[in-house]
Assembly symmetry: C2
Homo-oligomer: 774 residues x 2
Amino acid sequence: MKDYIKHDPWKIIEEGFVPEYNRISESLCSLGNGHMGQRANFEETYTGDTLPGNYMAGVYYPDKTIVGWWKNGYPEYFAKVLNAPDWIGLSIRLGGEEIDLATAEVEDFHREIDMKTGILFRRTRLRLNNGSLVELESSRFVSMERPEAGCFRYDLRLLEGEGKIEVSSFIEGNVHNEDANYNEYFWEQLGEYLDSDSEAILIKTKKTAFTLASRITTKVSLLASDGSASAVDSTGSEKTPGRVARSFSSPLKAGETLRIEKYNSSLTDRDHDADKLLEKGAAVLSDAVSAGFDTLKEEHIRAWAHIWDQSDITIDGDVAAQQGIRFNIFQLKQTYTGKDERLNIGPKGFTGEKYGGASYWDTEAYCLPFFLSTADAGIARQLLVYRHNHLERAIENAGKLGFTEGAALYPMVTMNGEECHNEWEITFEEIHRNGAIAFGIYDYIRCTGDRDYLMPMGMEVLTGIARFWKQRVNWSEAKKKYVMLGVTGPNEYENNVHNNWYTNYIAAWCLRYTAQCAESLAAERSEEYRDLASGLSLTSAELAEFKSIADQMYLPEDTEKGVYLQQDGFLDKEIKPVDQLAAADRPLNQNWSWDRILRSCYIKQADVLQGFFFFEDDFDTETLKRNFDFYEPLTVHESSLSPCVHTILAESLGYKEKAYEMYLRTARLDLDDYNNDTEDGCHITSMAGTWMSVVMGFGGLRHREGTLYLNPALPEQWKAYSFKLMNRGTLMRVSVSDRGIELENQGEKTVSLMLGTRDDAKEVTVEAGQTVSC
Amino acid sequence: MKDYIKHDPWKIIEEGFVPEYNRISESLCSLGNGHMGQRANFEETYTGDTLPGNYMAGVYYPDKTIVGWWKNGYPEYFAKVLNAPDWIGLSIRLGGEEIDLATAEVEDFHREIDMKTGILFRRTRLRLNNGSLVELESSRFVSMERPEAGCFRYDLRLLEGEGKIEVSSFIEGNVHNEDANYNEYFWEQLGEYLDSDSEAILIKTKKTAFTLASRITTKVSLLASDGSASAVDSTGSEKTPGRVARSFSSPLKAGETLRIEKYNSSLTDRDHDADKLLEKGAAVLSDAVSAGFDTLKEEHIRAWAHIWDQSDITIDGDVAAQQGIRFNIFQLKQTYTGKDERLNIGPKGFTGEKYGGASYWDTEAYCLPFFLSTADAGIARQLLVYRHNHLERAIENAGKLGFTEGAALYPMVTMNGEECHNEWEITFEEIHRNGAIAFGIYDYIRCTGDRDYLMPMGMEVLTGIARFWKQRVNWSEAKKKYVMLGVTGPNEYENNVHNNWYTNYIAAWCLRYTAQCAESLAAERSEEYRDLASGLSLTSAELAEFKSIADQMYLPEDTEKGVYLQQDGFLDKEIKPVDQLAAADRPLNQNWSWDRILRSCYIKQADVLQGFFFFEDDFDTETLKRNFDFYEPLTVHESSLSPCVHTILAESLGYKEKAYEMYLRTARLDLDDYNNDTEDGCHITSMAGTWMSVVMGFGGLRHREGTLYLNPALPEQWKAYSFKLMNRGTLMRVSVSDRGIELENQGEKTVSLMLGTRDDAKEVTVEAGQTVSC
């Protein structure tokens, strides 16, 4: 845990340069716009420790799976998020000395990202070895308005000294991933291009053959001490394989500023014909250059203002909490914009290269509720369409494991619909993701009311998933129930367990929900449904089978303790609460062997409670409480997805202190480097959990049969808080303080909602434009 | 399954050349002498499909473990059996055309290994493209008498045509393993040496830094049609990095024979100082060359005669069975000679590079009984000393997993005592190997009576193992018993199960046996024991704890069915006998996904029956029968270690037909390429199981409290059979036919044994030199 980021409501600020924290700051101050992103690396040369990172959404490399004993059905590759060409690079020499924070004396240093504007800013004062004193100031962003463009302005002010300044501004395509085997390069160079006003490279990934065109224009000018500007002409350009550069040079006197404005366009053949990439990229770049830095910046800030208008959360009286929640929202919105149905939300977004793949079950279980409530419904729908587009691949994936007749198993991790993780205990066994994907459809419909999505997309996905569960269970003669053997639940600190309560429960739910949807569609839209069912060969006999399995599903339980069992045999473990563990043992995954973790009672994230989070209304409060009381003390929360669920449940059970403790744990996970791994990148998907902690936890948001419920409570550590809620096209602002609750309808339609708990709530109606205090 | 090997009592014969079978024949006809070995590759150039293989015992390479999600305690590397320099290579050109079975027309082909003599022989007649007709004949062996030397005689007889013959005889050190990543080379070249009468290379493995000196001398002569010989002088020698070669050339006429005799010495710094290797290698080689091919061959045949004298099994009336059993004995004796306590018995011996590592639990569970009964006790003792030498590493290995206070976990696979396999479900969980290692000590003592081994070596190993079990169990409040969670049993078609009956049983046995040994030693040799116990901090309280855990160990059982349960929850599976599976599904591991296999009831090798094999006398016949009847029909025998156990149990339960069926399955596994994988090498360790099938199965051999039991029965498919038995220094020959049983005491001491079953046996005494008929 670290505490070097300054607390500020809107900014992430690093004050003073600590080289050991550089990678962490690079992660925290990452930029992204859904199409591309980059870590907050320095523009100029830096020979100290850094993790260079530039990423293009959807561009990956399939690293071959290598395992001691290969078994049938193992996925063939592990998809790596690929480091892409670095377009920000500058090499600057003053009086012959390279500007480099690692070799100069850093007299002053300030790096920040302004979450309100999405602009990365840095100011630093350096004493060079040759005695010169310079101040650098850079402002950088990847445009939210023009996703294929990015730019920065970089001012070098000479405070003391005098000399020739030489600048080389380049694109470096010779990059590799840090964990590449034997420093293998994953890109092939296709060509370098030096035009009169721009330079470009064209490169292609090995094996996957994604083509990328990256192009830059650099404008350099000299600002006299009176502010008057004169252009500095280029002294030439050059190319080597995978690299292009343009040079500038000028004398520089104390008081003068060299201003560098660099513009980039990065386009891939995911969006354009490969043979048009250079041409299109030139057009995107030239438009950006014509608009100029200031205009691009204004557009970009406007785009962010719109995002914040829909999704901001304010917290009064706790700036650390305020900064934390905004950081989480900011990173989520940088990662996914919903503009490209082929994309999804990778665990590191654009902040690092660790963990391959672009989508996990996190998307449906954690991110979908966030996007459902903070953006137009179309964005959440894209996340559903993404899975529908992958249905055929999911059926193939199930086929590789021996499933037949249209059974679909969605991959645990994927880039393109294929499984791309490489551990059997996860890929074969962590099948609960299929449940979350079905639940996502349910969640989308209950929030948006868009039942059209079922016809045919939702029904096709649900049918594939239900057929998987139908084949995945088997009848146990011993139990006289359907059982599900050999699974890994959300608690990945167990593998290959039998009858994981969560998995069995969500499987039964999927089977029932699929049958329900089919039956109601058959009644409501009989003709259309008949065609759909016939295309899917879905008969009423099969629907009856779905329900019969669901009704006879085994759910492990200990009646004496009155708790559901995470899986068969859980009570054979030595049960000892987490608080009895020595501090030196925590986190377990850094201190215990995997062997010991598997055998222990300690839970990475609590499966039964995850089930309660989804299906809370299926259980009475006493049951929720007994299980929470049993599992919470055994949970180590070493999954970043864990604490938010505990906040929400604890709050609804009246465990205020626990709720707040868990909230703190999720909100500042990366900012305070809680798990000592932020240097690898931020935990993007779990950030949606922080939003859920506030809105569903303290705010009590629930969707029950088409009705919105709120039950806001004020944590005693806060003076007030507010959140935005997008519900069926109407934006609402919910403010909570010790004076009560204010509901402000910022939309154009009347909103009716229930205020209170599921058992005790009153209806409140808020007219468009009105604010109601309760 | 294939059937191209000719049936013969002593030889493995391939008649006619089928290129598709070449790799299989290369495996079957492999040579080895405990120190080094090689596949039966051709000496001359072969551009067709081949798996070149030369191996030096104990020389390996640690390939880095690569896994998607690294966890603490994962082994760092996977040890590869390393392909070593090829010293047999010849390039022969006749009239300018390279001799190559892939390009010439093969008119006749015969390859055989004579198991009686350990000599690989090949004769082939080739029509070259230039019209010449040649006959090649080669005889090759690696010397059993001089383990660092090998040689061959290669005659090329020109039958038709005339031309210049050019020979290049070389060592090729630029070799790599077939599965190497990106064809990476694992050897570094240290130097090449051209002397007047020999050529050598010195090379070193990367990372592990084993140094190897390989040296050759080649003698070429011309045999006229009347048999008179004249030397062919060398035309020069040459070297390139990692390669040395010497050339010869001569005119050759029809009726003349070019004879090439090539000698090799291969020495490593495992046995000599690295800086003396070249010198020592020159001496070994020069001695061999002085002795000459015929003398080396005689010595080698003599050494094999001695081996067969101690270990042969004869079977009358079934030549396929005779060939099968001899093949198994032959390969075992080629693989391990007991001369080097640092070596052990790798799963592929010297026949292939697949599967890393040199020792598995197979050694104690399968190979030890073979060596105990077919060689002097010193050889079996070496296998025990090997584990004692690794005790410290086993304690370190347990330490990496969080065990303390001298608990030892032997690696599942090792080269040097460190774990060198790389899958957690095997390395962390297949801990029953610890039990087999302890059982090996028990087995050794009951066969040899050598209780001295316990002081201190055996007791040190047993204590480390017992301490591991003590810490590995935990008390289950639910069961009020000690349980063992998260293990993989011998049946590797299940992973991470709880309360594996076999593992729990052998753990309890280990704990009890350790306490028993300690208590009896304390009584018998109190002073010595006191020192030992004090050195180990082994108190009577700890011994009491061992016994208490053993007494309260949970053993899963289904009282209704009257069977032990392989593990908790086994009866939740869909139980359907193997014979109801479609033929197309078999073998499962080539047709089903791992996922499906894990969930199924099908057993690779039956854990409970493996336990019965070790602890038969702990159970009454009805119990043995009920469990056999339950598990046998569920067993697919896809472990080569499985069928022999079933032969032995079936025979003792009176299931004659099943016993013979299982015998056939084990005896000709490689010869008939039963599992379609002999091309990768032979299944060496399971070969000991074939021996056990005959001697313990049909012969009924048991050791009970210092007494030898035999209960020979004659399979109805055989006319007669005999086996050799080395028991406490006395060699006995047991012959069984329809005329009865003959016991021939070939030793110098009187032998007393029990003839019959455990419940009904009579004592028989055989004087030295006498034969008794019963």
